[in-house]
């Protein structure tokens, strides 16, 4: 497609994505599990209605809507960049065990007595960093590295080990069990508001790192030799990109727990809409990410009223068919 048409497509998709995100954001404020009709929510949103209703809308729904948007941006960008950096259409922070690494690091920290939000964020980023570098090391291995599907299997094995150790800790120490249980289940509701003040700088730092590598990643999709010829440094780019991904995933995990499949769904749709070029896919993914998370969050609130589902269940229901579709496509696209 010509450059002009590509740009038009990008603009049109971006506007549509932003519009959809706005609508979903509004819906997220109006719909919920509590016994509050959408009309009452609207009244509360306009500053009328009873004290209780205003509390529900502004103190409960507003923070989780913002959180959904932040986490969606982070996971969408992280998935897109990870797939570009590993040249693997199945690379997804949740599937490859990076989210599991982050949440496991937090579990360990809680077990050893850490209890402030800032510490949690730092430790989650550290855990995600370890997970990312394990992934990077594996992709450099002969045999396993150039097989996208085997990487997913390795990630599943890694996550299941971490999960079992977490279960051991849970069984061993009932005292911290409740707090830990909170971390290993992905959910947007009920997170402390103080999370937001740590999530925003983490998100911005991660996006800055990732953004700096986009041009080089686009060149690397033509092949390492071409990228080197154009003056990019593939190894440095890959390390910087994966560090950025780790910061994004760590932030998202610390804010909302591990949410699987979001990083797979979002880039998949973004690539379908604007093509495989990472320079176009990244901004679109950052718009689709919040849409997917908001939608999943709304569904998780409405599915089993008056209870709520963990959001990971909803993303798994959307993501597993996407995973099957990607794997089943006759030839796995090389990124």
């Amino acid at each position: 497609m010509s450059k002009r048409r590509g740009r038009q497509l990008l603009h049109r998709t971006a506007i549509a994505g932003a519009g959809l995100a706005g609508v979903l954001m509004f819906a997220s404020m109006l719909l919920g599990a509590g016994n509050l009709t959408p009309l009452e929510s609207l009244h509360a949103l306009l500053g009328q209605g009873s004290e209780d209703h205003r509390f529900i809308v502004f103190e409960l729904r507003w923070p989780r809507t913002i959180l959904a948007i932040l986490v969606g941006v982070a996971l969408g960008a992280a998935g897109t960049i990870m797939q570009a950096a590993t040249r693997n259409p199945l690379a997804e922070p949740g599937l490859l065990g990076v989210s599991a690494g982050a949440s496991f690091a937090v579990v360990l920290a809680i077990y050893y007595g850490a209890d402030t939000a800032g510490v949690h964020f730092g430790i989650a980023i550290l855990g995600a960093l370890v997970g990312c570098f394990l992934v990077l090391l594996t992709t450099q291995m002969r045999g396993a590295g150039n097989d996208p599907v085997r990487l997913v299997l390795a990630g599943a094995a890694f996550s299941s080990i971490l999960m079992s150790i977490t279960t051991l800790i849970l069984l061993h120490d009932q005292r911290t069990a409740d707090e830990i249980r909170f971390w290993v289940i992905g959910a947007l509701g009920g997170r402390p508001v103080s999370n937001l003040q740590w999530a925003v700088p983490g998100l911005l730092a991660g996006l800055a790192m990732v953004g700096a590598t986009v041009a080089a990643l686009a060149a690397m999709s033509l092949g390492e030799k071409v990228a080197m010829g154009l003056g990019h440094k593939p190894v440095f780019t890959r390390i910087l990109a994966m560090t950025g991904v780790a910061v994004l995933v760590g932030t998202a995990t610390a804010a909302a727990g591990p949410i699987a499949f979001a990083g797979l769904i979002v880039p998949y749709f973004a690539r379908r809409l604007v093509g495989p070029d990472v320079r176009r896919a990244l901004p679109i993914a950052m718009l689709i990410g919040p849409c997917v998370l908001l939608l999943a969050d709304i569904l998780s609130r409405l599915a089993v009223r008056p209870y709520e589902l963990p959001i990971g269940i909803v993303t798994a229901c959307i993501g597993a068919p996407v995973l099957i579709a990607v794997v089943r496509s006759h030839r796995l696209p090389r990124l």
Binding site: L90, T138, M141, R142, G143, A144, D147, V149, R150, V152, L153, A154, A156, A157, F158, S160, I161, M163, S164, I165, T167, L168, L171, H172, A260, F261, A303, V304, Y307, E308, L309, P310, G312, I313, V314, A316, C317, G319, A320, P321, L323, I324, V327, R328
Partner: protein, 353 residues
């Protein structure tokens, strides 16, 4: 295989030739020794399982109590608590081991075990449904069977019949994730009592299983093990390419279907007893194959190795952090997970690619 240098007309090297009546049977010597070794170790671990715990008994107390003599408390404890648990462990481990061995050989891939391609998750989801969501008169094992069959059909149908290497397995992972989400969905929906009732299904534990499910499992093993053993010959040919197997006279599609059905039955009934202890079906056939020298399809030895692994894991889980009991599924995941990683990353080429 090396041709034998000594002029033995009746048996190749490393085999015994049995001639009961008009039949001739070749029995692998190494396979028999491996089987005896595994059976002996299972027996030892079984006795250990019976005697250690709170309170611990000496082996002669165990024997006396088994015979119904000695302290009535010991007799009660053995007959009502430890012996059923040991039986459940041995039977479910054997079923999982055979199921894993069959499926691995069928898909020509060591990673294609019921636990990994989502059959366990399917069985778990449906069994949980029978407890919490749809209060039916159907017993959990029956619904577990339906779930396992559904998951197997989905994984094989979407994954291209198991002949497309790793893609089939990742399709299976996705199917497993779907069923896992379904399980969590149902657990989130119900009241806390039903959820607690269903919890053991989700981690894999041998604690206080319903005796009726163990009976169903035992019946299934009695029927399926001979069938599996009889299919073993054709299965051995399926390890070659389809063209070779057809040329040697195997009806490939029928054999595949029969093996799949047997696997689904074994896995479902085992999951109905022990919950999803998937990694036993990965490791047990591996152990069996290693001991028998990668010759043939070690059905019986896989069963023995599975029983050994399950009982040993349960022993560790029961005693390592006593008085807290660790579910057997957690133990097998901690031991089996690194092994899975090692298989994946270590070998540059795998069979069946």
């Amino acid at each position: 295989m090396k041709t034998s240098t000594t002029p033995t007309r009746d048996a190749p090297q490393g085999f015994w030739l049995l001639r009961p009546g008009s039949l001739s049977l070749l029995v692998s010597r190494r396979g028999v020794w491996a089987g005896l070794l595994l059976a002996l170790m299972t027996a030892l671990v079984g006795v250990g399982n019976l005697s250690f715990g709170t309170p611990s008994l000496t082996p002669d107390q165990v024997l006396a109590a088994l015979a119904g003599a000695g302290d009535p408390f010991n007799v009660f404890m053995l007959h009502e608590l430890r012996l059923p648990r040991l039986t459940a462990g041995i039977l479910s481990g054997a079923a999982l081991g055979v199921g894993g061995c069959l499926l691995q050989t069928l898909a020509r891939n060591r990673l294609a075990t019921p636990g990994i391609i989502g059959i366990d998750d399917g069985a778990t989801a449906f069994a949980v449904a029978s407890i919490v969501a749809v209060p039916t008169s159907l017993a959990p094992p029956m619904l577990a069977l339906v779930g396992a069959a559904t998951a197997a059909a989905l994984a094989f149908g979407l994954g291209g019949g198991g002949s497309r290497g790793y893609r089939f397995i990742v399709v299976g992972i996705a199917v497993g994730a779907l069923f896992g989400a379904l399980t969590n969905f149902m657990l989130a929906r119900t009241d806390i009592d039903s959820a607690n009732l269903a919890y053991p299904w989700t981690v894999g534990s041998l604690n206080a299983r319903a005796p009726s499910t163990v009976v169903v499992l035992a019946a299934c093993l009695v029927i399926c093990l001979p069938i599996a053993k009889a299919l073993g010959r054709q299965l051995q040919l399926l390890r070659f390419s389809d063209a070779v197997a057809i040329g040697l006279g195997t009806h490939v599609r029928h054999t595949r279907l029969a093996i799949l059905v047997v696997t689904v039955f074994l896995t479902a009934t085992a999951v109905a007893v022990a919950g999803p202890v998937g990694l036993v079906s990965l490791v047990a056939p591996e152990v069996a194959r290693h001991l028998t020298g990668h010759r043939g399809v070690p059905i019986i030895n896989s069963a023995l190795a599975g029983a050994l692994l399950m009982t040993a894991a349960d022993w560790v889980g029961r005693t390592a952090f006593a008085p807290v009991e660790i579910p057997v599924g957690v133990i097998t995941a901690i031991v089996g997970g690194p092994y899975l990683l090692w298989i994946l990353l270590r070998e540059p080429r795998m069979t069946g690619r």
